[in-house]
């Protein structure tokens, strides 16, 4: 990965220029699909953009000096780390990535939930603290199967480089590993059966209860970018074929990641919120089971396969 390509990936594709409109579009499609599944018409697709602009143009309330840095720094860190994660996605096969970029990608994907937990505690609101506790518990429980799936894929192809993992992992490992990651996907996006942390109305607004105006706009932005990054992560790992022509790969990446949104919206519209015990049990038992199957397949192929 040369510096010029890194800059291109960070700023243009799949970085900011692509991810900003795509994030808003994904949030819009999700809200509209969810409304349709509930028998409503739902907001227009431009709604998340309008929400963002409106929040940005509001006058934030005064804060203590000790809070100001944290309240602005945490959402900025979340946005920055997701943009970094996006830039590492192996959309085109040639030229992207370096040895060990999987570790960096997973780290960057884990930072926004951590920022959210810290933001919840930093707000010193009781609702923020309960939301942050739930977010922390869920991110720990969901990371066990998530990391099992990723480790299985890396072991299956014998590399820590994303391009190799995406193209060379055998299907016997890839399918259970993807299933594991898919189980964790609604948890990471805080979608309905696992929407414990932001639990609308139940916890006011979870960790973000005390955030207002531009700071909340940054969190909304981070959430939109998270959608692009996580669906993109699944799509790049699921599709081993790369045409070699960059624009065909890019278009396929866009279409496939957008196609995942309605199915996630269907899940969100058709389920009720779990209790924390139920969510953890599901993730520990079924998520870890799928992850262990993937790991077992990788182990088998590695030692007895050939």
């Amino acid at each position: 990965m040369n510096p010029l390509y890194a800059l291109f990936a960070l700023l243009i594709f799949p970085g900011l220029v692509y991810a900003l409109p795509m994030g808003w579009l994904m949030l819009g499609v999700e809200r509209r699909c969810r409304a349709r599944f509930q028998g409503r018409l739902g907001p227009p697709l431009t709604q998340p953009f309008y929400d963002f602009v409106k929040l940005l143009a509001k006058t934030p309330m005064g804060r203590l000096v000790s809070d100001r840095g944290l309240f602005t720094g945490l959402p900025l860190l979340a946005v920055g780390s997701i943009v970094g994660a996006l830039a590492l996605l192996p959309v085109v096969a040639s030229g992207s990535g370096f040895v060990g970029d999987l570790v960096l990608l997973v780290t960057l994907l884990e930072l926004p939930p951590l920022c959210l937990v810290l933001a919840g505690y930093a707000s010193r609101s009781i609702y923020g603290e309960v939301g942050a506790t739930r977010e922390a518990i869920l991110s720990i429980t969901s990371n066990v199967p998530f990391l099992l799936g990723i480790v299985a894929m890396a072991w299956g192809c014998g590399s820590l480089q994303l391009t190799t993992i995406a193209t060379a992992t055998p299907w016997a490992v890839r399918i259970p590993a993807l299933l594991t990651i898919l189980i964790c996907l609604p948890v990471k996006l805080r979608l309905n059966p696992f929407s414990l942390a932001n639990a609308e109305q139940e916890l006011l607004a979870g960790p973000l209860t005390e955030f207002d105006g531009p700071r909340l706009a940054l969190w909304e932005l981070a959430h939109g970018l998270e959608w692009v990054a996580l669906t993109g992560f699944v799509v790049t790992l699921a599709v081993p074929w790369r045409s070699g022509t960059w624009w065909i790969d890019a278009a396929a990446f866009m279409v496939l990641s957008l196609a995942m949104v309605p199915s996630l919206a269907l899940l969100a519209a058709s389920t009720a919120r779990f209790k924390i015990m139920q969510a953890s049990r599901l993730l520990w038992i079924w998520g870890s089971f799928a992850g262990l199957v993937a790991l077992g397949a990788a182990c088998y192929l590695r030692y007895w396969g050939n």
Partner: protein, 170 residues
């Protein structure tokens, strides 16, 4: 953030404010009749999310404060705190007859209302309870207030008006 009141940026912001009004619902001792009617607006039949209206959990996220109930002595302080927590521009809707006039509770020693003696009110939706259509119309009026005027000035202007009105009444 200070937006200059002309040019493309301002038009986009103005449009965004009209298209995305988030509500916060505050029950100031209401009998639940108005609350049920307000929640009805979000159901598939009325579906106010079509114009970007959303019921928010936190007053810090909200643009419009919907108050139902004659403000009782115990709810007065939380109401003031919540009004102060909402970032500008903001608007207040009085839903039902209770916040407008205290309704049948007028004269009770435990009632601090009506609402406009405590915080500035932009839109009154009369009725006991008002129909969801009327509430949606009230929200639309409040959105117009948000789009046309900047909340802080508007609130100050309103409270000045109310003060003069009260003086005249006395």
């Amino acid at each position: 953030m200070n937006v200059p009141e002309h040019g493309l940026m301002f038009r986009i912001v103005e449009r965004a404010r009209r298209r995305s009004a988030w509500l916060f619902h505050f029950n100031a001792g209401a009998c639940n009749g108005c609350d049920i009617e307000l929640v009805t607006c979000l159901t598939p039949f009325y579906d106010v999310e079509q114009i970007g209206i959303r019921l928010e959990g936190s007053p810090r996220h909200a643009d419009i404060l919907c108050v139902s109930g004659p403000v009782t002595r115990t709810t007065r302080e939380p109401l003031e705190v919540i009004y102060a927590q909402m970032p500008a521009p903001k608007a207040v809707i009085a839903i039902g007859s209770c916040p407008a006039s205290c309704n049948v509770f007028a004269g009770s020693p435990v009632i601090d209302g009506p609402l406009d003696t405590i915080i500035p009110v932009d839109v009154y939706v009369p009725g006991c309870p008002p129909r969801p259509h009327a509430i949606i119309q009230g929200i639309a009026e409040a959105i117009n207030c948000l789009g046309k005027k900047r909340g802080v000035e508007m609130a100050e202007e309103r409270s000045a008006q109310i003060e003069t009105k009260l003086e005249v009444a006395q």
